[in-house]
């Protein structure tokens, strides 16, 4: 009976809700409205709305929680709701929609139709928000979500400012306003800085949540727990023991109708600047002083700062570009990139990159980090592997053939888990040593279905927890590395493209690229 409450005859009010204490799911955000810009778009329907529905299903949304969709199409609330129902039935990880949950959920769904450029639309939005506050008790708390083409971010942010919708707090209330911004955040260092300036004109940094859905994945969060929650790995997590690191994000999908977007971005902007840099900084960072948003982001940013941008010659030596031609995936013939819808038939856009980077600090000096990512590779897989240096003496290999090195793999998707490869003696008279793998699968030890990354991240944003979102300096630092590479590429002729067949592990140049260092890509 420890709580500061109920003194005899008194009216003491607790400073926090004591009934929340010890609840296994302690975090329920305060009532709020989420405004989705681009509410009729693909991301909204495939990811955001199903995520919200799943949160509702688990009673994780606050009472009165409401959604306002904002897009150009002239729809009314009912039509918008109907579209949502269809998408949830199609894309939610739990289907079909439960009628009782749905009935409750749609009571708080509204739609405002307007062009992003039209200030009156934002005034209509403000009026809708006031009405919702009044009717549903959302107390002025707002979460804006930019799920629109990136070219619209600036106009939306400015209009939110002009309509008075961006204020961190209204006078005399605790109400908050936050904004989630989708990727891509900028196109290069300069545009990212400019966009950050635009954002900073209207919002304070602690209102801004730059989303990278990779950070919402359980296994990515587990990297920190694995490293800093166990004492046996950290002592060998450095240049004395680690020979090199490989980070792979492979997809079997092609550009899936998003040709124009991809033509602009290429794999390096679509994957490397955000997801892969996030993975890299989590694997390489120093222990943070606390598990607190800024402490963690400080350390991640330090890692990116320790990677020197590449000069033009280094770009040639340390990167490989690729683009897929026609091929076969899972037995089905697929088109080459240049034949995809709305793609330039002479496009030199990269659909594959391999990059070698160095984190030049005390821990990692001299340890190469190889990044490899691409579309139309044989399968979808993401992992980080640390290959350890060989044992100092080849005691068991009289033939002089080196034994296979130890490899620790952090598997991000699918089959989230951790595995360690080591050598073991094959039973018998001879000293035959075979590599064996010790596997740990998260799904198998804790068979709890992990929430979708978007569920976790949207909830975090409502709670104001920015640990799993990218900070301004982090984004810019990642861009400075990537921009040094794209700038370098502009100075050199691209290789003859396409240079790999869809359904294979990328161009042969990429194999030669790592082999000349005396290493190999991990077989996946």
């Amino acid at each position: 009976m420890t709580l500061p409450i109920g003194t005899p005859g008194g009216v003491a009010t607790p400073a926090f809700n004591p009934l929340r204490k010890g609840l296994r799911m302690e975090r329920t955000p305060p009532p709020c409205v989420m405004v989705i810009f681009g509410a009729t778009g693909d991301l909204t329907h495939r990811k955001l709305l199903p995520a919200l529905y799943n949160l509702a299903l688990e009673h994780l949304l606050p009472e009165g929680f409401s959604v306002v969709g904002f897009a150009r199409r002239p729809l009314d609330d009912a039509k918008f709701q109907q579209g949502i129902l269809e998408s949830i039935n199609k894309f939610s990880r739990r289907r079909p929609v439960q009628p009782t949950v749905w009935e409750q959920f749609i009571k708080g769904i509204y739609y405002v139709s307007s062009d992003f450029t039209n200030l009156e639309g934002y005034q209509a939005l403000a009026a809708t928000l006031d009405k919702i506050d009044e009717e549903r008790g959302t107390q002025g708390n707002r979460l804006f979500y930019l799920s629109t083409p990136p070219s619209d971010y600036e106009i939306i942010i400015n209009n939110l400012g002009k309509a008075g919708l961006a204020k961190p707090q209204r006078p005399g209330s605790d109400a908050w306003t936050r904004i989630i911004i989708e990727k891509p955040f900028g196109h290069d260092l300069k545009s990212a800085q400019e966009l950050n300036d635009v954002v900073a004109e209207v919002f304070r940094e602690n209102q801004v949540f730059r989303i990278d859905h990779y950070l919402g994945k359980e296994t990515v969060q587990n990297i920190l727990v694995f490293r800093f929650g166990n004492s046996i790995f950290e002592p060998i997590w450095n240049r004395q023991f680690v020979d090199h690191i490989q980070i792979v994000v492979a997809e079997e999908l092609g550009v899936e109708g998003r040709g124009p977007y991809y033509e602009e971005s290429g794999t390096i902007r679509d994957m490397v600047q955000n997801h892969m840099m996030q993975l890299l900084s989590l694997v390489c960072m120093e222990p943070p002083v606390s598990y607190e948003a800024n402490a963690i982001r400080d350390e991640k940013t330090q890692v990116l700062r320790s990677i020197k941008p590449l000069d033009a010659d280094e770009v040639v030596e340390r990167t490989v570009r690729g683009q897929y031609g026609p091929g076969t995936i899972f037995g089905k013939p697929v088109l080459g990139y240049r034949h995809e819808e709305r793609v330039n038939p002479n496009s030199i856009t990269d659909t594959y990159v391999a990059i070698k980077l160095f984190v030049e600090n005390w821990r990692w000096a001299g340890v190469p980090i190889y990044l490899r990512t691409g579309k139309r590779l044989p399968k979808r897989t993401s992992e980080i592997s640390l290959q350890f240096k060989p044992a100092p003496q080849q005691l068991f290999s009289p033939s002089g053939m080196p034994l296979e090195p130890n490899v620790l793999v952090l598997q991000i998707q699918p089959n989230e888990g951790i595995s360690l490869k080591f050598g073991a003696k094959v039973p018998g008279q001879t000293m035959n040593i075979r590599p064996v793998t010790m596997d740990f699968r998260f799904g198998q030890s804790f068979g709890i279905t992990a929430a979708d990354a978007y569920e976790r991240l949207i909830l975090d944003a409502m709670l104001g927890d920015s640990t799993l979102f990218a900070r301004r300096d982090e984004v810019e630092q990642a861009w400075s590395i990537v921009t040094s590479i794209t700038d370098g590429w502009k100075l050199h002729m691209p290789p003859a493209l396409p240079n790999y067949e869809a359904g294979t592990w990328g161009p042969k140049e990429a194999d030669e690229f790592i082999q000349k260092d005396g290493r190999n890509w991990r077989r996946l």
């Binding site: 409450i5 005899p8 005859g9 008194g10 009216v11 004591p18 204490k21 009782t100 799904g443 030890s445």
Partner: protein, 403 residues
């Protein structure tokens, strides 16, 4: 994708390794003294070798996994069947070594038999099978004490031992003590207590005296999680929080099927224990029982707070299950009064949550509700690694309130 490899070890399905004794020497229906524990362990190893060979050509992808030892005590065939089924399902989330002890009053004196079986899951069709094992030991009443002694050598080293007693635990006696000696956690289901108030009190006393350092848990506590969450939500807005120190009345409806001689409102009691601990109540007048109903007055910050438990026998799906709760509170100086209620509806698939505050329009909403099965409740419980302090505190106060 679920597959069980079950073999009585006296069958010929498992080929013994060459040059070794047959399994007949080991675990067959027979005298208890003939059971050599070391051989059970060996049989398990053989079972895995066979299972592995069975699987495919060379290094077959079977993985044995184990996150704890789960010891289950049951007294009936039905209990054994349920336990086996639960273990199979639990393997998805918690691969473990399960040791099922079954008491058989009808077996001849001293008699004891053992089986082993494997529970395998294939979480990913292209991946590895995850397997873990179940050892089942049956014994006569007289062999019961020795049954306890079977557990120690069968435990997988260095992993927690969880004792799950799904029926009505004795909570005393040599077998209970013996099992508690080896366990890190005891899981019961107070819903199944036959003499609910008495067993509940005993459980609270054991937990409070930190009996043998064991952590206690109760599936009824996991059943309360959604209720606790919904009650807590009423008081999240800062303007509602003051009501917490001004509760006047609480009415809890629960299911009391007519056939039950002794209605079981342990779940409701635990809920009151939790509220009381969090809000600093003290016991005042002890529990009064009238058939299916009961009442209680507590000292809530110097003021009396009336609590009523109302049993409904015109239902019932889950004996003892809470179906509604209503809290009334008045902040006297400001003359603000409110009623907070939560009520299960539509075959327990929906929950209606309402707030009525003086001079404001009433607010009400409905959410989906799922009454979870035993496996889901156990999984929630097993997620807590050590003592669940909140539960133990709620139990302690609830125990005191029963007088």
């Amino acid at each position: 994708m679920t597959e069980r490899i079950l073999d009585r070890l006296d069958s010929t399905a498992l080929m013994p390794p060459p040059g070794k004794n047959t399994y007949e020497d080991v675990i067959i229906r027979g005298e208890a003294k003939e059971i050599e524990l070391a051989n059970i362990e060996k049989s398990i190893t053989t079972l895995w070798q066979v299972a592995t060979k069975d699987e495919s050509e060379d290094l077959a992808p079977v993985m044995r996994a184990c996150v704890f030892n789960l010891v289950i005590f049951t007294e009936s065939d039905e209990g054994l069947e349920q336990a086996t089924d639960t273990i199979a399902k639990l393997t998805w989330s918690y691969p473990c070594r399960a040791i099922v002890l079954i008491a058989r009053p009808n077996l001849p004196e001293d008699s004891m038999n053992a089986w082993i079986s494997a529970q395998c899951q294939l979480p990913d069709p292209n991946g590895m099978k995850v397997c873990c094992e179940q050892v089942t030991v049956e014994g006569s009443n007289l062999a019961m004490e020795r049954l306890g002694s079977m557990v120690l050598p069968l435990l997988v080293p260095d992993l927690p031992v969880i004792l799950w007693w799904p029926g009505d635990p004795t909570l005393q006696g040599p077998l209970f003590e013996r099992l508690m000696d080896t366990s890190d956690r005891l899981i019961v289901d107070s819903r199944r207590f036959l003499d609910p108030v008495c067993s509940f009190k005993r459980l609270a006393a054991l937990s409070e005296m930190r009996y043998r350092g064991v952590a206690f848990s109760d599936l009824n506590w996991a059943r309360l999680t959604p209720w606790r969450r919904l009650i807590a939500q009423f008081f999240d807005p800062p303007n509602m929080m003051p009501y917490l120190s001004h509760f006047e009345d609480i009415v809890i409806d629960y299911e009391a099927p007519g056939k039950e001689s002794e209605p079981n409102f342990s779940q409701a009691l635990l809920l009151v224990g939790w509220l009381g601990h969090q809000l600093g109540w003290k016991e005042a007048f002890s529990l009064q029982k009238h058939k299916y109903n009961a009442s209680l007055i507590v000292n809530a910050g110097g003021k009396p707070l009336n609590i009523k438990f109302i049993g409904h026998n015109d239902c019932c799906e889950e004996s003892g299950g809470i179906t509604a709760i209503k809290i009334t509170a008045t902040i006297l100086p400001e003359n603000r009064a409110a009623t907070f209620s939560i009520k299960l509806k539509q075959n327990y698939e929906q929950v209606e949550i309402s707030t009525e505050e003086s001079s404001k329009p009433p607010r009400s909403r409905a959410l989906g509700f799922v009454r979870r099965d035993e496996v889901a409740l156990l999984s929630e419980d097993l997620a807590v690694v050590k003592h669940d302090r909140m539960y133990e505190a709620a139990l302690a106060l609830a125990g005191k309130l029963t007088g």
